[in-house]
């Protein structure tokens, strides 16, 4: 298969404390990788190293021609500013040397109507804001998406819609998707492979073989009840 991302012996540390230690894995083009782990396991730090936003040891190699779209989890941004979704997207599109058509295209892809895009971000709902961030990531026609808990702060129906949206986008645009999630059902339904990060060793593999009760208990230090076939019951 065609490898889009190759990570070898990746370590990130703050002073003497390792946040990530000797991590190695591959991601095949067009697949989904879920990153799972308790808080503080270094999930966001992994994403930051993948885009070169933090210093690290080891190698991160993206295939030539990879364009990354990034949906961050927590924004430094104050929400009560008079910036509209369109202001943000116009700026992002200009940097990608895109046109107004490109801008309308990403808005349509994520299902944000133009009048919503024209409103200040302070009045957007959680779901609309996450869609906006997704649109933002789609500018510049990426072939890889990094999603850091893309449904955090969104109500449950909204979460399902967002997950479905990502899955449709992935299928239609042959995207490789790396996503951080705490939702085991989402992970098992959408992920080709799972990378679990915890204080101990990392594990990697398809959800069915990786997500064992033992591993989950070990990772979260508590009993996690989880049924593999949940997705199929729907």
């Amino acid at each position: 298969m065609d490898t889009i991302l190759e990570v070898r012996h990746l370590s990130v540390r703050f002073g003497r404390r390792y946040v990530l230690r000797d991590l190695s894995f591959d991601v095949e083009r067009g697949t989904s990788l879920a990153i799972l782990g308790p808080n503080g396991a270094g999930k966001t730090m992994l994403f930051r190293s993948l885009v070169g936003a933090t210093p690290f040891d080891g190698t991160v190699r993206w295939a030539a021609g990879t364009r990354i779209g990034y949906v961050p989890q927590k924004l430094d941004l104050e929400r009560d500013i008079p910036i509209t979704g369109l202001d943000f997207l116009t700026a992002r599109t200009a940097l990608a040397r895109g046109t107004r058509t490109d801008l309308s295209r990403v808005l349509a892809l994520v299902g944000i109507p133009p009048d919503v895009a024209n409103q200040p971000i302070s009045v957007l709902s959680g779901g609309q804001f996450q869609r906006l961030l997704l649109a933002f990531a789609l500018v510049g026609d990426p072939n890889a998406l990094l999603l850091d808990e893309p449904t955090a702060g969104v109500d449950e129906p909204g979460q399902e819609q967002l997950n479905e949206l990502v899955s449709i986008l992935q299928r239609d645009h042959a995207l490789t998707v790396l996503f951080i999630s705490h939702e085991l059902t989402v992970v098992s339904r959408y992920a080709t492979n799972v990378l679990c990060l915890s204080r101990g060793a990392a594990c990697f593999g398809p959800p069915r073989t990786v997500l064992t009760p033992d591993l989950l208990r070990d990772m979260y230090r508590t009993d996690v009840h989880y049924v593999h076939d949940h997705a199929d019951d729907r």
């Binding site: 936003a53 961050p72 500013i81 202001d87 940097l95 302070s122 961030l133």
Partner: protein
């Protein structure tokens, strides 16, 4: 006010309003004050060396911004504490090295004659800040979302942060003549905070902040001349007055 001084005041105010918008959105409102304090020892050193105070202030502000940038490469919480300590110390040192009438002028602004070098430096500096904001507007907006997103958009985050801080420091230097070390922070922050509450989009916010800063500067300076009082406090009072009025009109 002479035509030269008016042109300089307007250019400085436009730069303040524009840089203030991004400072407010980047939650740097509180950094404006301490950073402006670092200008004071610069004024003292310049006076001792018999060069124009603005150049001493600008030099120290340049290094002050560099220091903030270097600290910001580390964690953010520590940065704010460090800024508070370093720049309060600068105010203390500056108060000792400057004295009498010079100290009052450095703290609250001066109405003394405008030298040619100051005029040229002021206009060129204001133009540089305005050009920076206009040309880097897209990158600055994308960087508001998150540094990771900015990186994937091809922005050199660290360099842009440094340029922004230097533009911010330069703006403070430009305003020292009119407002002084203690009040200049207010002309950067208050018009932008007002525009933040009133505007409906980015362009609106930028125009509004620049407009309010110009209005406050012209009205304050004029009122100062009329009342035989320093213009700086009246500029800040005008800006604050507009801010209070805007609270009544703000949509939320």
């Amino acid at each position: 006010m002479t035509a030269d001084a008016l042109a300089l005041a307007v250019a400085m105010a436009v730069a303040s309003g524009l840089i203030g918008c991004f400072a407010v959105m980047r939650r740097m409102s509180l950094a404006a004050d301490p950073l402006s304090h670092v200008a004071l020892p610069g004024v003292g050193i310049a006076l001792a060396l018999r060069i124009h105070p603005i150049f001493g202030a600008a030099a120290l502000l340049f290094f002050g911004a560099l220091l903030v940038w270097a600290l910001e490469q580390r964690t953010r919480a520590a940065t704010e504490t460090m800024i508070g300590i370093v720049f309060s110390a600068a105010l203390a040192v500056g108060s000792l090295t400057t004295s009498g009438e010079d100290l009052i002028e450095a703290l609250f602004g001066t109405s003394g004659a405008l030298s040619r070098s100051e005029l040229i430096f002021g206009l060129a500096g204001a133009l540089a800040v305005i050009v920076f904001i206009v040309t880097q507007r897209d990158s600055l907006i994308v960087m508001l979302v998150s540094p990771e997103v900015a990186r994937t958009a091809g922005i050199n985050v660290s360099r842009l942060n440094l340029l922004f801080l230097e533009a911010f420091a330069l703006t403070i230097a430009l305003g020292l003549r009119f407002l002084g070390v203690l009040l200049m922070g207010a002309l950067i922050i208050v018009p932008a905070a007002t525009a933040k509450g009133l505007a409906r989009n980015l362009t609106g916010m930028l125009y509004m902040a620049a407009g309010i800063a110009v209005l406050a500067t012209v009205v304050g300076t004029w009122a100062g001349a009329w009342l035989h009082r320093p213009g700086g406090p009246l500029i800040v009072m005008t800006a604050t007055g507009v801010f209070l009025l805007s609270l009544a009109r703000a949509p939320s």
